[in-house]
Amino acid sequence: MTPDPMNWLVWNYLALGFSVLALALPGSRLRRSIYVAGAWAAALLVLIGASRALIAGTTTSIQPMLLAILPAFGFVLDPVRAFFLIVTAAVFGLAICFVAQDSGRYPPARARALLVLTTLIYAAMVTLLIAGTVVSFIFAWEIMSLALWALVTFDSRQTDKVRAGLLTLALSEGGALAALAGLLILAGAAGTSSLAGIAASAASLPHGVVWAGFLLTFFGFGVKTGLMPVNAWMHDGYAAAPRSVTPIFSGATLNLGVFALWTIDGPLASHALWPALVVLVTGTVTALLGIVYALVARRMTQLLTHSSIENLGIVVAALGAGFAFTAMHHPVLGGLALVAGLYHMLNHSAYKTLLFLGNGAIDSSTGTDDLDALGGLMKRVPLFATLFLIGIFAIAALPPFNGFVSEWLTLESLLRVVEISAVPVRITFALSGALLALTAGLALTCFAMLAGSTLLGLPRSRAATTPRRVPWSATLPMGILAVICFGLGVLATGVIPVLGGLTTRLTGVNPTAALVPAFFRHVQGLAAGTVHDLTEIGAQIGRGVLPLRGLVVLHSGGASTPVVYAMSTGLTFIVLAFLLLVVWLATRGLRRRRRVDRRATWNAGLERLRPEMTYTATAFAAPVRVTFAGLLRPVVAEHTEHHGAFVTALRRQDELVHVVDRLTLRPLTQAGRRIAAGLARMHHGRVTLYAAYIVTALAAVLLAAASILHGS
């Protein structure tokens, strides 16, 4: 008898427990190996269980026996949650190797603590993804937040890391409180505390409740997604966390915010247009600001963090567009945009985990992640650098990798607004589309800068000149992820139907048919219900060899184009690769045997091109600094030293304060200080005054109670 999908998850917890217990063993290599084995087992269990649930398409819910005494806890597993679980488990399984290996640089007690915390955060993420009620959701969210904060402050001895930790904690807790308030409002209005129940009654909730609940939960859970006004913690927080854990943060934790958006705000926004537009606009602004700050980042960790903010902004924007289309009764278009959003989230997990693993590996082998100190890694660690480069191609949206597919789908879905006639909606979509296109261009610049300054050119510091061997615990997962990135790009026509099925729950209609024609998806025969003019007359190339149909020749019945050739993306790539191979073989065979001279690079006759003469990342991004100076507002401090008429030194510093810090956090903290100062005047330390305060308060409460009792 095949186990219920939920049981796989339960076994997952047991495997995690086993891993944690294994940490008590002596002997660090043995301990770590058993831990990793247990973690892999846990990830594999979740993968199998979630895949079964996804394929089966059914929803299961359990009330675990252990928690029967707490009826507010309920757990659910449906295909959408299964999808998120697959992503989370895959990221965890691929990243945990490096976490375990890198924990060796801490003393044994700290290393154990690191692994326990990582296990905890993973367990919290899994729990969150199967949480079915408000209580279980918030419970898992809080545990995840605390584990995140513990990891952010793991290394902290310096002041800036302590500050990062405090900011993380403040924003996390503030967000969680706001989200809890929002959920309670929604639960109260819906009359049920199960998330499915809230979703079901979303259409009938009153306007004010919808807005209050939406805003509180959107920005409350948005702290973890990285939405613009509330993502101030990520810039320092990710940089403060241990370098091996950031792949998990970025590849899995960020997606939890998307999950919250989908589960809680999705149903709300699918029935109300204006909240959906708020989602779209917030996502767009987040994306644009994220990429601008990525371009001016000096350290690779910060660059990748802001790039994650940008990518999640795109995801949120696509989801917002989907919700908006659905709210305007265009479910197919809505499904299209939602598919784009989910696809982008999936792709982001793949390539960002790859890049953060690369970041951790570079940091461990050269000792630095300062972009202006790296360089020349392509010649020194070629395999690693090639995998890193594949990650960069993927995130820069270059075909045939996955980033291209999802960015293109997102922009295409925004263009579909031509089918809507409402002018404010059109304007919003048009502006968002333009800004997202700008973001895509800036992202290409940003990752060209990253590739150039880390992999190419001359090493700019001693550490980069002789990097230590890159650990296989980073290289192997990166290799697997590179293959995944490639696969997700080339086999897009296989991924989209899966995602399309997920969106049906929200929009009611499966958009797959509009994206991937049926004759590509089904190998056996054409699916029922195709247009009657379509007649398949041509070759079914690849039948029996390819898993899906690659090329189809159709008789479309039109006068000007009677015959149409259609080729799937997968086959397109295979044909291209084949042609390139043929050309390469031909040139190798036909070219006469000729000796190739390898000479030194021409450098205009200099004795030696020194690293300080080559372009740094800062120099590459200087036009962006200049163009966006109004946004970045650098504070410049310049100081010239003279010796008589000689200028002997020119020191210049520009300090960038993040726009969110400038516009929200600083005014808030200043306002808070002013209020506290005002309140401080009330506290003189005299007991009689405090007694008077107490008496006044008591009197006010009694009066209020009396008036309420009188009124009822």
């Binding site: 001279d597 000479r599 030194a600 021409w602 205009a604 006759g605 200099l606 004795e607």
Partner: protein, 240 residues
């Protein structure tokens, strides 16, 4: 709308017709001393670089040593001077001209290895309208990687030895080197000293030389044509 193309069209074609026709305009070339059969030999002592030699039947001229000081043009016993400019010579141990593939398309990298303003001025004029190098399919490139010919001026100062060597090694085969001006041939008035190598041949192998101080633009163009085999080289030593 810019009117510059119109100005350019209105000026018409100002380029010399050479090599289709002789170029006889005055001032195009400083000319060179011709060997003389009936000179007494007093003029030989006036030459500061030993370019004139007293031989049995007169005065012979080794033009590759001439610095155009004009002392043998004036005064008693002056030598006759011609006004030509096609005086490119083959360097000793120089390779032959480049083959047919380069006849209509040649790329040149000019390197300043200590040249004075004279050679600099003349070489800048070879693609100016009066001479127009481009009509021969010859172009100047900025990188030696794309160059077929290295055109070097100056006596090769110490600081430019290694850059010149590097540029030569950065060029792919087949390649040729042309030494422009008497400084590049044998150091000219600067000679071989603590600061100058005394000619390009001390640093890289030279194939063609252009005597003159400075060689006029048409002499430089003649040399580039000789590199592709479209013009004849002549010996720089001449007997009466």
């Amino acid at each position: 709308m810019s009117a510059w193309p119109l100005y350019s069209l209105l000026r018409g074609i100002r380029t010399t017709r050479w090599p289709r026709q002789e170029e006889t305009a005055p001032g195009v070339s400083p000319g060179r001393p011709q060997p003389s059969a009936d000179a007494s030999g007093a003029v030989v002592g006036r030459c500061p670089t030993a370019a004139l030699m007293r031989i049995a039947n007169g005065v012979a001229v080794d033009f590759a040593r001439c610095v155009h000081c004009q002392r043998c043009l004036h005064g008693e016993d002056a030598l006759p001077w011609s006004r030509d400019f096609a005086w490119t010579a083959h360097a000793p141990e120089g390779r032959s001209s480049l083959g047919r593939r380069f006849r209509r398309s040649l790329h040149v990298r000019y390197i300043d290895a200590g040249a004075c303003g004279g050679c600099m001025g003349e070489v800048r004029l070879i693609d100016a309208p009066p001479y127009n190098l481009h009509r021969f399919g010859i172009f100047i490139t900025a990188t030696p990687r794309d160059a077929d010919v290295l055109l070097v001026g100056g006596p090769v100062t110490e600081a430019m030895r290694m850059p010149l060597r590097k540029a030569y090694e950065a060029m792919p085969e087949p390649k040729r080197v042309v030494a422009m001006g008497v400084c590049a041939i044998n150091g000219g008035v600067f000679g071989k000293s603590f600061a100058s190598a005394g000619g390009v041949a001390e640093v890289v192998p030279v194939d063609f030389v252009i005597p003159g101080c400075p060689p006029p633009p048409l002499a430089i163009i003649h040399a580039l044509l000789a590199v592709t085999g479209r013009a004849q080289t002549h010996a720089s030593e001449q007997q009466p």
